[in-house]
């Protein structure tokens, strides 16, 4: 079937098998490989993107369900280091990433979290990221980064 998704502001149209998962549509049809596949039980969150502004696990959404909708991946957050989103800036400042594999999904989950809760407590950040696994950082600096990003946005 023909699926058209607005990805990071641009329309991407492709004829795909009905069973195509959104994550594969993004990686292979939109050629945006930052979004990763990390598991097969919707557990790890590495595939997190925004669908109409809300974080979703793109491995658990059919491309067909995103037809006519708008998706934001980490590639669509900023054009370069000078235009970082507050979350990206904070992740770098706070050393919130090591191998980087979970990072795109983690960043998008954090963006969505802050969109819904502008001044989360540490506990709210931790439970807000319960759907995103990281094996490298122990989450300590990721939590610091999200809190720092929140503080920066609130200050603006």
């Amino acid at each position: 079937m023909e699926v058209t998704v607005t990805v990071n502001g641009s329309q991407v149209a492709a004829d795909v098998a009905d069973r195509t998962l959104l994550v594969h549509f993004l990686r292979e049809r939109a050629n945006l490989t930052a979004t990763k596949v990390g598991c097969d039980t919707s557990s790890c969150g590495a595939c997190t993107v925004l669908l109409d502004g809300q974080s979703v696990k793109s491995c658990t959404v059919l491309a067909a369900q995103a037809d006519g909708r708008s998706v934001t991946t980490v590639e669509g957050l900023a054009a370069g280091p000078d235009e970082f989103h507050a979350v990206q800036r904070a992740f770098q400042a706070e050393h919130g990433l090591q191998c980087g594999f979970c990072t795109p999904g983690m960043v998008m989950a954090a963006v969505s979290l802050l969109n819904e809760n502008a001044a989360p407590t540490e506990e709210e950040v931790r439970s807000g990221l319960e759907g995103n696994l990281c094996r490298c950082t122990g989450y300590h600096n990721i939590v610091r980064a999200v809190l720092a990003a929140a503080a920066e946005r609130v200050a603006q």
């Binding site: 557990s43 054009a79 992740f91 770098q92 980087g100 990221l129």
Partner: protein, 770 residues
């Protein structure tokens, strides 16, 4: 002012945060543009004879290029006889080799399967979706055999898994118990405890792409060691290493489970040649949880004896290592466990022995700590059991028995010589940092009141061995170009450790070339033919030193060139490392830049290559204190605070050292509280997806309290030890001890890991009834 020791941001991050890393499955290189996809068909049964494989239906399925089984492997040189090692020049002596001989492991299973997940066939398809469909059409007939699953099953030897071997015990080493060793001890405690099987679970699973073209094999692999991978490929395919190129692109975590290239990766490389087409493979998480090697799985008998006033006099550790279906690393892991058995304690008499058994489970290999977390967990449990037996505070028992600071270098009774350390200071820092006395008082108050939620304080004191294979060395090459920028070629292979940032710091510190002008390259055997890679927490103290040395040699060359340029003697020349300018002493006006000097040196600029082989193993140490709350009605334990000292000598990049500690602590806590690979009695995995394998999330952890301590080593010029595995080693026993400490007043003496709610509750119930 040197940049070393200062807090920097990583140079790796802008790319990772914007377009994301390029891991094997993200590669969009010309060689792979027409690559087909590999889907594995794996054994669903733990132990069986293969009586037939029918691939015809699969071969006809849409999108299928080929379906291959062991019967198609007619084009490989026979494997080398057991005992042959890597060549002296190229591969490095680093990774221990499989045992071979009667324990030979095939590529695709031949006539039997030995673990759920073992590869039996591969389907090669135009895309992964067709591959998933076609793989279901491969029909394999299995004749089940009795499954040997637990260590006890293996030792019983009722079913011998390898008919050509005498028993299921593949390796046995260490002295039998010495009669009378504990005879004079006033107190002796003995217990059997488990260090459970874990899944390393890097967020990126295994992934390989391979292309044979124009007489050259190129393999992209998610590995910690490109050069070792090349050596393995050369051996398996009978090729000259020069005709193989291995590339490690971005690697999404390894934790020891991505050392070299494994069996499944070799199958992909072989298939690419056999079919004559480039191939790529990226495993699913379900495959990863049964197909990637597991970690730990040691059974310990710990025996500790000493005086009633707290002096430990004797300790014995008997290890049985479950090797899984094939003893791939031989006795390597329990060897390390025995080596570190005595821990940081001054114990007169220490014995350790080990056996390694095969079972019908996923093979075991290194996982963050690789044998040392097991050693520490064993002795830390023993110390707490001893403390409970004599009614002494576990902190006091530790302080009484830790090797004191005046004893270094210290010859451990288990074998190694600990280079430097101050174990008592680490313990005291952690106790002070946590507010130990106040916490004990709070614990007492809650016990007095009979609160539902009780408090437990868990300690661990540890010492660990890093760069155990230091004699394998590490390489570093530094080029300074005509434009004044520099390129580092390192044999190290970061997969999250941020070496690009740290090696750039070393160059800036040594030469004054700003970090932003230093490019670091790793993981490509065409560019770096010789190197070992990253594991065993070896990289900074070997690879970093190699880079520093190369920088020193470049500096010497530059001095000579600059002297000629400025018509001065070399002795009068100075390099201002803050500005990166060469000038004659006392005459800063006549300065030359690195660009000037490199250009003057010649068309290739300045270059130096170092293979640093003078390193030796080093011994970081520390102490962890875990503050745990246990709900005694439900058994649920919660880590409330975690305070640590992890002393790895001189810290070059504090931000990254902290990051390594954080990550290690999280994995250590996960072992204590949550994670376990579970098999049923037939060898069927019960934790084969992330819905069941309890990987730890941010919601289960507090922020950590890291204290600083830097006790340099004299062994290398940086004074640095390794930090990568320390957090895991220190955290697990502290948390386990903490959970138990919360309920010792109810009569509980021990709870095996993971201390899940049902286990804690069962221990409480049993103690209350007993």
């Amino acid at each position: 002012m040197s940049i070393l020791g200062t807090r920097v941001v990583r140079t790796e991050d802008p790319r990772l945060l914007t377009v994301g890393g390029t891991y094997v499955d993200d590669l969009r290189v010309p060689e792979l543009s027409a690559a087909a996809r590999v889907t594995f068909v794996r054994s669903p049964i733990a132990h069986a004879l293969i009586t037939g494989i029918d691939v015809e239906e699969a071969r006809q399925a849409p999108g299928v290029v080929a379906v291959l089984t062991a019967a198609d492997i007619d084009d490989l040189a026979p494997p080398p006889p057991p005992g042959e090692g890597p060549p002296a020049d190229g591969g490095g002596e680093a990774a221990p080799l499989p045992l071979g001989g009667p324990w030979m492991e095939p590529l695709l299973a031949v006539d039997r399967v030995r673990f759920v997940g073992e590869p039996v066939a591969i389907v090669v398809c135009e895309d992964s979706y067709s591959g998933a469909d076609a793989a279901e059409l491969v029909s394999v007939d299995y004749e089940p055999l009795p499954a040997v699953v637990t260590i006890e099953d293996a030792l019983a030897n009722e079913t011998r898994l390898f008919p050509d071997a005498d028993s299921n015990v593949a390796v046995e080493s260490g002295a039998p118990a010495e009669a009378g060793a504990f005879a004079d001890c006033e107190v002796v405690v003995e217990r059997t405890i488990m260090n459970q099987r874990l899944a390393p679970l890097p967020m990126e699973g295994r992934a390989v792409a391979a292309c044979w073209a124009d007489g050259k094999l190129t393999v992209w692999v998610s590995t910690q060691n490109a050069q070792i991978s090349r050596f393995i490929l050369a051996g398996v395919f009978g090729l000259d290493p020069a005709s193989i190129r291995v590339v490690a692109p971005d690697v999404g975590g390894g934790f020891g489970a991505k050392i070299g290239i494994d069996r499944d990766g070799l199958i992909v490389a072989w298939a690419a040649k056999h079919i004559g087409r480039a191939l790529r493979w990226a495993e699913t998480r379900s495959e990863n949880l049964v197909g990637m090697t597991h970690g730990r799985d040691q059974r310990h008998v710990i025996k500790i004896g000493g005086t009633r006033d707290g002096r430990i006099e004797a300790y014995r550790l008997d290890v049985v290592q479950n090797a899984g279906a094939f003893p791939r690393m031989g006795g390597f892991l329990p060897f390390l466990t025995k080596l570190m058995a005595a821990g940081p304690y001054d114990i007169k008499h220490v014995e350790a022995a080990s056996r390694e058994v095969v079972t019908n489970t996923t093979p075991i290999n290194a996982y963050r700590g690789a044998g040392r977390p097991e050693a520490t967990a064993a002795i830390e449990r023993a110390v707490d059991l001893f403390a409970a037996e004599i009614g002494m505070d576990p902190a006091e028992v530790r302080r009484t028995n830790l090797v004191t600071a005046d004893r270094f270098p210290y010859q451990s009774p288990s074998g190694p010589v600990y280079d430097s350390g101050d174990y008592v200071s680490a313990l005291d820092k952690v106790l002070a940092g946590a507010g130990y006395q106040e916490l004990r008082a709070e614990q007492a108050r809650r016990r007095e009141r009979g609160d539902t939620v009780q408090l437990g304080l868990g300690l661990s004191s540890y010492v660990e061995i890093t760069a155990a294979d230091a004699n394998g060395g590490e390489t570093g090459r530094l080029d300074v170009h005509g434009d004044g920028t520099a390129t580092v070629y390192t044999g190290s292979s970061a997969h999250g450790q941020g070496h690009h940032t740290t090696w750039a710091m070393l160059v800036e510190s040594e030469l004054g070339i700003p970090m932003a002008d230093v490019t670091v390259i790793h993981g490509d055997t065409d560019l770096i033919p010789m190197g070992v890679g990253t594991y065993a927490s070896r990289s900074l103290q070997l690879g970093g030193v190699a880079v520093q040395r190369a920088a020193g040699e470049v500096k010497d060359q530059a001095r000579s060139v600059a002297a000629a340029m400025m018509e001065a003697s070399e002795a009068d020349l100075e390099l201002d490392t803050d500005s990166g300018l060469w000038h004659v002493r006392g005459d800063p006006a006549t300065s030359k830049t690195w660009a000037d000097v490199a250009t003057h040196a010649g068309p290739d600029g300045l270059t130096a290559s170092v293979n640093y082989t003078e390193g030796q193993p080093t011994f970081p140490f520390g102490a962890h204190l875990a503050v745990v709350e246990v709900d005694t009605d439900t058994g649920k334990a919660r880590l409330v605070r975690h305070v640590t000292v992890d002393d790895a000598g001189t810290i070059v990049s504090p931000v990254q050292a902290e990051g390594q500690r954080h990550g290690g602590i999280a994995q250590g806590v996960a072992q204590a509280l949550l994670e376990e690979v579970v098999y049923d009695s037939q060898g069927n995995p019960q934790t084969g997806t992330l819905a069941d394998y309890a990987a730890i999330s941010a919601a289960e952890l507090p922020s950590f309290e890291l204290l600083t301590s830097e006790t340099p080593t004299a062994i290398n010029p940086l004074g640095a030890k390794g930090i990568g595995e320390a957090g895991t080693i220190g955290a697990t026993p502290a948390v386990q001890n903490g959970v138990i400490d919360a309920v010792t007043h109810l009569g509980v003496r021990h709870i095996d890991m993971p201390a899940t709610p049902v286990r804690v509750w069962a221990a409480i119930s049993e103690a209350r009834e007993g």
